[in-house]
């Protein structure tokens, strides 16, 4: 036990005596969160759109008025033929075109369903998705109102993400994303670097030749970064509640628990990286390319998974951050309980077990 | 050695780091074609002094002239007229011998024809025909060091600085290396060398011994031994270095 304590203290010395790295470790989440929360907001206001109303009846007029009255959209032009749509996009004035089918009201009344086509400028896929969602939300709103008034049992199948994000704040999607990325980077990259550093220094040889069990070496390497990660979790949550004004809907204990699961998963990933690399540079490169890139690209944090090619969608399943971000969203934003996240939690645990298993298999009690 | 031509001249050259005087008023001259041994214990200030002389560290004060150029204003010209080789960095291990020659020739401003002819001469001399297109990393250490020295003098510099060039090299290769140093000196290249092997100090025309940032002794090995009444340079060195005060 004394060995462990002394070892952990030594690790803290390493961390605390390198103020520059420490600043990065603790400052990075704050900067990231603020940048993503404030500066790069996904909020869109007063977007110019075009409307092609092939029905021109009561219902379509109602919907158009609703769209227009929302603060997100300005109707830039009204189109008359399908041929004008492309031109409208090409001039770059509009981001969205809304097209109503002919006979809209009749269809709705008799067949219980009618179609609205929403075409978006997908040069910025994120924004496009958001805008399309906004419009369909407005349409849904109208529909459910109609349902209540007419007392007809319409079933609405449209996905309504914005339901959980009524104010459409950017922070709502960036907080879980930043948590998923920061925790992974700090835990995995820093652990792997600090283990590999011992190999470079030649001290690993001494540690291996000492009576100290390799497992204890690993545990003491991992604990300080676990602590640093927890500090970061607290900072991120405090910032998001008090600065970004984003409340935690669900149980905070549950949120912390799934976060700890994720940190452990990230630490075991760092361990795995340290067993396959021999220099700090290599460890850093593997961490950045092998972890950061997938997290940014494939976790659903920066780009919606639903918009990806099918291959990438499948691939995204092996990115732990994806599952963690889903859990954070469920607990923090939707306010779901354990029943809502147990599947994802199980996946994270399974991944952790796998990483630890492989690391143990690969960890050498000898050199080479 | 040509005592009429001075290629390194320093006057009270000093380097301070805060309160710490790493090199204190160093004054000496080195002649053309001389093999000059620059000795000192770890931390005596050798590396600091050498860094100033090769133009990568600015002195706190004092004057120095290297190969006819001022150490403050003409560092770029200095760099062109010197060669440098250290134990730590010698050559690119993942390039072949020929590629290393091409690279370093290019760095020192030789044109393509010069590089090819100088390179061929070098490969001839070291007898490396069969290895010329092999990666440097696959050569034994001794060969690497000999090759590295040859490349450091490829552009026929006025002075070549060698920082512990023979550390860990086997005894025969070590001597072959010194044969090459002698030959270079014979061709008029001044050799400025640091070493921890005291027998190598004997091969130098003159030797300076640094202690605590100052040059404590400077003379030919023969004169130094006479002066300190010692049998070998090893003894001279121990006598001087043991008086060192600072542990750093």
């Amino acid at each position: 036990m004394k060995q462990l304590m002394v070892f952990i203290r030594k690790e803290f010395h390493h961390i605390l005596r390198d103020p520059r790295s420490l600043l990065v470790l603790l400052g990075m989440p704050i900067v990231q969160l603020l940048i993503f929360g404030f500066a790069i907001t996904n909020e869109t206001r007063n977007t110019n759109i075009a409307v092609l109303d092939n029905a021109k009846d009561q219902s379509t007029q109602n919907i158009i008025t609703r769209i227009e009255s929302s603060r997100y959209f300005d109707i830039d032009r009204t189109l008359n033929t399908n041929g004008q749509i492309e031109h409208a996009f090409k001039t770059g004035k509009i981001k969205v075109a809304v097209i109503f089918q002919p006979d809209f009201q009749n269809e709705l009344a008799h067949a219980n369903k009618a179609q609205i086509q929403i075409i978006t400028d997908a040069t910025d896929p994120n924004q496009a998705t958001t805008l399309a969602n906004y419009i369909s939300a407005i349409v849904m709103d109208y529909q459910s109102e109609q349902n209540q008034q007419n007392n007809l049992p319409y079933t609405i199948n449209t996905e309504m993400r914005m339901l959980y994000n009524p104010e459409l704040k950017g922070a709502y999607s960036s907080v879980p994303g930043v948590m998923g990325m920061i925790l992974l980077l700090i835990s995995a990259m820093m652990t792997s670097i600090s283990i590999v550093k011992e190999k470079e220094l030649g001290t690993m040889e001494i540690l291996l030749v000492s009576p100290m069990k390799p497992a204890l070496v690993i545990v003491s390497k991992v604990i300080p970064y676990f602590v640093v990660s927890l500090i970061n979790v607290v900072t991120i949550l405090l910032l998001s509640v008090f600065v970004l004004g984003m409340p935690i809907q669900g149980n905070i204990i549950l949120l912390i628990t799934v976060t700890i699961l994720y940190i452990i998963c990230a630490l075991s990933l760092g361990l795995l990286i340290s067993t396959i690399t021999n220099s700090q540079q290599a460890a850093m490169l593997v961490s950045l390319l092998g972890l950061m890139l997938p997290v940014v690209m494939l976790s659903g944090y920066a780009f919606p998974i639903a918009n990806m090619p099918i291959v990438l969608q499948v691939l995204s399943n092996i990115v732990p951050a994806k599952w963690y971000i889903i859990m954070v969203k469920s607990v923090m934003i939707k306010g779901l309980g354990f029943a809502g996240v147990w599947k994802e939690a199980l996946i994270i645990i399974a991944m952790t077990v796998f990483f630890i298993f492989v690391s143990i298999k690969k960890f050498k009690i000898r050199l080479s | 050695m040509n005592k009429n031509e001075i290629v390194i001249k320093t006057d009270k050259l000093t380097k301070k780091f805060g309160d710490f005087v790493a090199a204190n008023e160093i004054t000496f001259e080195v002649y053309k074609g001389e093999i000059f041994g620059f000795l000192g214990a770890n931390g005596a200030g050798k590396t600091t002094a050498m860094k100033m002389l090769i133009g990568i560290s600015k002195p706190s004060f004092g004057k120095a002239n290297i190969a006819g150029f001022d150490i403050y204003k003409e560092t770029e010209k200095i760099k062109k007229s010197i060669g440098y080789m250290s134990q730590k960095f010698s050559l690119y291990e993942d390039l072949t011998i020929r590629e290393n020659i091409q690279f370093f020739g290019g760095v020192y401003g030789l044109n393509d024809n010069e590089i090819v002819s100088a390179g061929n001469k070098l490969i001839d001399k070291l007898g490396l025909h069969d290895e010329a297109d092999k990666l440097v990393g696959s050569l034994p250490l001794g060969w690497k060091q000999k090759l590295s020295f040859s490349i450091a003098i490829l552009h026929n510099p006025k002075i070549v600085f060698l920082d512990e060039p023979t550390g860990g090299v086997d005894p025969i290769t070590r001597r072959q290396f010194w044969d090459m140093i002698y030959e270079a000196a014979d061709n008029g290249i001044t050799v400025f060398v640091t070493t921890h092997y005291m027998d190598e100090a004997e091969y130098c025309h003159r030797v300076s011994i640094m202690v605590d940032g100052v040059i404590k002794a400077l003379d030919s090995p023969e004169q130094l031994k006479k002066h300190y009444n010692a049998e070998s340079m090893d003894e001279v060195f121990l006598m001087l270095a043991r008086s060192a005060k600072r542990g750093e």
Partner: protein, 306 residues
């Protein structure tokens, strides 16, 4: 019981293109309480031998025992009783002298206090700097601290891989004096070095080159087996002298050795006066030739050429 026994150890490394034999059928043993030196240049295979003995590396062939314990089967027991200082060992530069020592004491299940007498000699010199970070120590000081760290758990046997490489002659001398004192306390020591002049400070040495042991014996015996007359030659123009001596028809070898050249002759009749007059012809006016005893380095070079 012997401190170390190696029998027919072979270790090869595979690179992309070829297989390098780092240790080629090496056998030797170290007696208990002996100071045994592995002498050879970089790349001779010294580090691989150390790693095999400290259980960090598995040999391809052969067997090795440390204090009667097998390096493969009993590796855990060996790890408890050896002190090891790896070649590129550089301590934790961001920890202070004291913190480094304390750390290594603890992971070896002991305290500085418990074994202070063992390291006292060495550590006393470091004590004035004990709050200084290890990264700010000079080379010689670092080696002393590293030795203290390797010693702090009172090992029965010490493995020191090139402890004096890159260290100045003064610190090297002090380091060897420390090893002598440790030996006097009954600790067996296996040490490697590329400096041939350190060989004579060992009880017995193995001369190693290209993974092969060329000779094992006491330094004195090795020198005695040189089997040839060796001459120190000096003149005013040493570089010319070297070439002229090599050109001489009866010369077997001639190498620069400090202030003299060491000359050995072929196995035929020769005559010192004849050599002298040859040198005079070549323009060496005050050449001196005197017979000397060979050193380990002379022997090493002779063996290398065999």
């Amino acid at each position: 019981m012997k401190a170390v026994v190696l029998e027919n150890i072979v270790k090869t490394y595979k690179t992309k293109k070829s297989t390098v034999t780092a240790v080629d059928d090496v056998s030797f043993s170290v007696e208990e309480g002996e100071l045994f030196g592995l002498i050879g240049p970089d790349g001779a295979g010294k580090t691989s031998i150390f790693r095999i003995l400290t259980t960090l590396l598995l040999a391809d062939k052969g067997s090795a025992k440390v204090l009667g314990l097998d390096v493969v089967d009993d590796y855990k027991k060996i790890r408890d009783i050896v002190g090891y200082m790896p070649g590129k060992f550089s301590l934790y530069t961001d920890l202070t002298v004291e913190e480094n020592l304390e750390f290594f004491a603890t992971i070896f299940n002991t305290t500085i206090k418990e074994n202070y007498d063992l390291v006292a000699d060495i550590y006393k010199q470091l004590e004035p700097f004990k709050t200084r970070r290890a990264g700010k120590l000079s080379g010689g000081m670092k080696q002393k601290l590293a030795l203290s760290c390797a010693l702090i758990h009172k090992p029965k046997i010490l493995f020191l891989d090139e402890p004096t490489t890159g260290v100045d002659p003064v610190s090297r001398k002090e380091f060897w004096e420390m090893l002598k004192r440790l030996k006097a306390q009954g600790i067996s020591i296996l040490v490697s070095t590329p400096y041939m002049d350190e060989a004579k400070l060992c009880d017995r040495i193995a001369l190693i080159q290209n993974g092969k042991i060329m000779k094992i014996d006491t330094p004195q015996n090795i020198v005695n087996q040189f089997g040839k007359n060796l001459y120190a030659v000096h003149s005013e123009k040493m570089f010319n002298l070297l070439n002229d001596l090599r050109d001489y028809k009866k010369t077997e070898s001639c190498y620069a050795f400090g202030e003299n050249h060491h000359l050995s002759m072929k196995d035929e009749e020769y005559n010192l006066d004849e050599i002298k007059s040859y040198l005079e012809e070549k323009g060496h006016r005050r050449a001196t030739i005197k017979k000397i005893d060979p050193g380990i380095e002379d022997c090493f070079m002779q063996l290398m050429k065999k």
